[in-house]
Amino acid sequence: MESVKRDNASVLELTEGEYKAGFVTDIEAETIPAGLSEDVIRLISAKKNEPQWMLDWRLKSYRHWLTMKEPTWQNVHYPPIDYQAIVYYSAPKSRKDAPKSLEEVDPKLLETYEKLGIPLRERAKLAGVAVDAVFDSVSVATTFRAELEKVGVIFCSFSEAVQNHPELVKKYLGSVVPHTDNFFAALNSAVFSDGSFCFVPKGVRCPMELSTYFRINSANTGQFERTLIVAEDRAYVSYLEGCTAPIRDENQLHAAVVELVALEGAEIKYSTVQNWYPGDSEGRGGIFNFVTKRGACRGRRSKISWTQVETGSAITWKYPSCILQGDDSVGEFYSVAVTNHRQQADTGTKMIHIGKNTKSTIVSKGISAGRGQNTYRGMVKILGKADGARNYSQCDSLLIGDRCGAHTFPYIEVNNSTAQMEHEASTSKIGEDQIFYFQQRGISPEEAVNMIVNGFCKVVFKELPMEFAVEAQKLLGVSLEGSVG
C-alpha cells in the first residue's frame, strides 16, 4: 500500500505547479470606484469621449440588465457575484499621451509581454501579425495599421471605431448579440471598456492574420471586452485572440462579447487560446469567464469558423455560435477545453440553420483532470425552411484521474425532414496502465500525458494557425502538468 501512497504524494506534488503567467505589472491605473449605476456608465462614456448615441445605447442596456436575472442553468458552481463590488473602468495612465508607436509604449508593459513569451515587437516584425494589444481596458499598441489601411481593412480598438467609424459601429453593434440577449451580454453592453474592431471591405482578403492579446491586470477590475468583426461580400479575415492573466486573490469577472458578421461569400476564421488565471489548486482567485460569442452568416455561401483552446479561468461559460442565415452558408466549431484542479467549464456551441443547404460541423474535445468539471453543451437547430441542412457533431471527453467529471448536453431540434444529422460521442480515461506502458518504454509520465492529450486534440489543433497551434500544445502541457503521477 505504501507504494500507492507514494504515487498519490507525487500526484499532489506535480499537480501543484504554479501558474506560469503569474505576475502583476505595476502601472498606475486610472480607476474609478467600485460599483455600478447610471452615473458610473456616464462616467465611463465621458472618459472615452463617446458620442451621445453610444451613451444612450449603454444606458438602454443597463436599464434592461437591471430587469434580468443571472442565469442558473449552467453546470458550474460559484459564490454569488457582488456586482457593486466590481470596478468597471480602469485604464493605464499612459493613455493620456497615447503612444504613436511601440517605442512610446510603457516599457513595463512591453516587459509584461516579454514575460508571457509574446515579444510584441518581434512578433509584429517577424510574423507579420498586426497586434491590437488590449492591456486592461484600453488599447495601447496597434501595429501594421497603415499596411492594412492600404487595402481598406480597418483594424483598431473599439473606442477608436466609435470615434472614427460611427456609421459602421451603429450599423453592426448589437446586430448579432442584441443588448437584451442575456444577462452577461447586457452587462457588457452597458459597461464595455474596449476591444477590437475589424472591417474588411468587399472582395478584400485580409493580407495578414489579425491578433489581439488580452490581459487583465488591475485588481478587482472587471474585464468587459467588446469585439466586432465585419467581412463584406467575398472578404476573408482570420482573427487570433490570445489571453493570459496574472495571479489574483479575488475572483474576477470577465464578460466579453464578440460579434461576427459575414456577408455574401465572406469567410471569418476566429481562433482563441484562452489562458486566464484558473485559480490556485483549491480554485481560489481564478477568473470567471462569461463570454457571449456569436457569428451571423448573413450572406449566401458565407462561412464562420470558431476554433478555441480553453485552458484557463476558474469558470468558463462560453458558446461561440453561428446563425446560418444565408443559403449554403457554413458554420464550424472546433474546441478543446481543459479543466484541472477545481476549474469548471460549461462550453459548447449553437448552430442555428435558417438558410437552405446550410452546413455545420462541431468537434468538441473536453479534458478533465484533478477535480475539474467539464461540460459540453451544444445546440443544433434546423428551422423549417432550412431544406437540405446538414450537421456533423463529435463530442469526446477524456478523463485523467478519478476525481474529475465530464458531462455532455447535446440539444438537437429539427423542424425539417430533409435535414441530415450525425452525432458521435465518446468518453475515455487515461488509465494507470496506459501511463505505465509509456514508462516501460522509457517515457516519463508527464510526457505520456502530453502525448495522449495531443493525440486526442489533434483534429482541433490542425484548425489553428501554425504558431498558435504550437502555443496551444505548450499551454496544454502546462495546464495538465503532473495531473498523473
Binding site: 500500500m1 505504501e2 507504494s3 500507492v4 504515487d7 475515455s428 488509465g431 494507470e432 496502465d433 496506459q434 505505465f436 506502458y437 509509456f438 514508462q439 516501460q440 518504454r441 522509457g442 517515457i443 516519463s444 509520465p445 510526457e447 502525448m451 495522449i452 493525440g455 486526442f456 489533434k458
Partner: protein
C-alpha cells in the same frame, strides 16, 4: 564468468495486501535465456511486473539489482532506459498516438539516457523499416495508433517489434504465447530468436511448455506459491509437460536458483 545482469534476492511482494512473492532468488547473466514456469497464480507475472516497476505492487522484503544497481529505487521509466524491457501479456491501446510517434519518443528517451544522439525522423524511419522486416510486422501497423484495433497476434508482434527497436539488455516476456495460434506463435518466437545475442538476456514467463519448443531456454525455474521450487535445464520443461505442476507443489522450496 561474467558478472550478473540481474540479481533477485529473497524478493517478497504483495498486491492489495496479499503476499504473492514469498522469497524469490534468481540470477540472470548476460546472454542467458531463463524461463519461469508455474501454475496460475504462482506469481510469474507478478515477478515480471515488480522488476518492471508497475504501480500497485509492493515490495516488502528483498532486493533486485540490475548491473549491480538497486533497480527498485528507480522509477519505471528509468528502469526502461537502463535496459529493462517488458513485453506485456495484455498490451494496452493508446488511441490517438501513432505507433511510430510513440516509438520514436521511446527510442530517443532511451538514447538520450545513454548519451547517444537522438534520431531524426529519417534515421528513425529507416530503423523502423529494418526492424519491421526482422520481426515480420506489417509496416501498416506501425503507422496506426498504438495497439488500437490490433488483433491479439498483432499486439504481441508489436511488442516484439518494440523490443527490437529499443534494444534492451534484459527482455522480460510475460506470457507472450497466450492467445496466439500456432502460426502467430512461430512468427513471434522467430522474432525473439532473431534478437537473442550474447549482450541480451531474456526472462521468458510462460504457463505452457510449448513456447519453449520455439524459444529454447538455457535455464528453467518453476515458481509455485511465490517461491522457486525447482531449477534446471530445458529438460525440466519436458518433465513438467509429462507430470504437470502437482508433483512439485508438494516439494520443499529449492535452494537458491543456480
Amino acid at each position: 564468468m561474467t558478472s550478473p545482469l540481474l540479481e533477485v534476492e529473497n524478493l517478497h511482494a504483495s498486491v492489495a495486501g496479499n503476499e504473492i512473492l514469498r522469497g524469490v532468488d534468481l540470477t540472470v547473466r548476460a546472454g542467458e535465456v531463463h524461463a519461469v514456469m508455474g501454475p496460475n497464480g504462482s506469481g510469474k507475472s507478478t515477478l515480471a511486473h515488480v522488476i518492471a516497476g508497475r504501480p500497485g505492487y509492493m515490495v516488502t522484503e528483498g532486493t533486485v539489482r540490475f548491473r549491480g544497481r538497486d533497480l527498485l529505487a528507480m522509477p519505471p521509466e528509468e528502469r526502461a532506459r537502463e535496459g529493462v524491457f517488458l513485453a506485456f501479456q495484455y498490451p494496452v491501446e493508446i488511441p490517438g498516438v501513432s505507433n511510430v510517434y510513440f516509438l520514436k519518443a521511446a527510442v530517443n528517451a532511451i538514447r538520450k539516457h545513454r548519451g547517444l544522439p537522438e534520431y531524426d525522423a529519417i534515421e528513425f524511419l529507416s530503423l523502423v523499416k529494418q526492424k519491421a522486416k526482422l520481426v515480420e510486422i506489417d509496416e501498416d501497423l506501425v503507422k496506426r495508433p498504438v495497439n488500437e484495433g490490433f488483433s491479439g497476434g498483432e499486439k504481441k508482434r508489436n511488442e516484439i517489434f518494440q523490443m527490437a527497436l529499443l534494444d534492451p539488455a534484459l527482455a522480460i516476456l510475460d506470457e507472450t504465447d497466450s492467445g496466439l495460434d500456432i502460426d502467430a506463435l512461430r512468427v513471434v518466437a522467430g522474432g525473439v530468436n532473431q534478437l537473442r545475442s550474447p549482450e541480451r538476456s531474456m526472462l521468458v514467463v510462460t504457463h505452457y511448455q510449448r513456447l519453449l519448443n520455439y524459444i529454447v531456454p538455457d535455464f528453467l525455474h518453476v515458481l509455485v506459491e511465490g517461491r522457486i521450487v525447482r531449477s534446471g535445464g530445458k529438460e525440466l520443461a519436458l518433465e513438467l509437460e509429462e507430470k504437470g505442476y502437482a508433483w512439485l507443489e508438494k516439494e520443499p522450496p529449492a535452494v537458491a536458483a543456480r
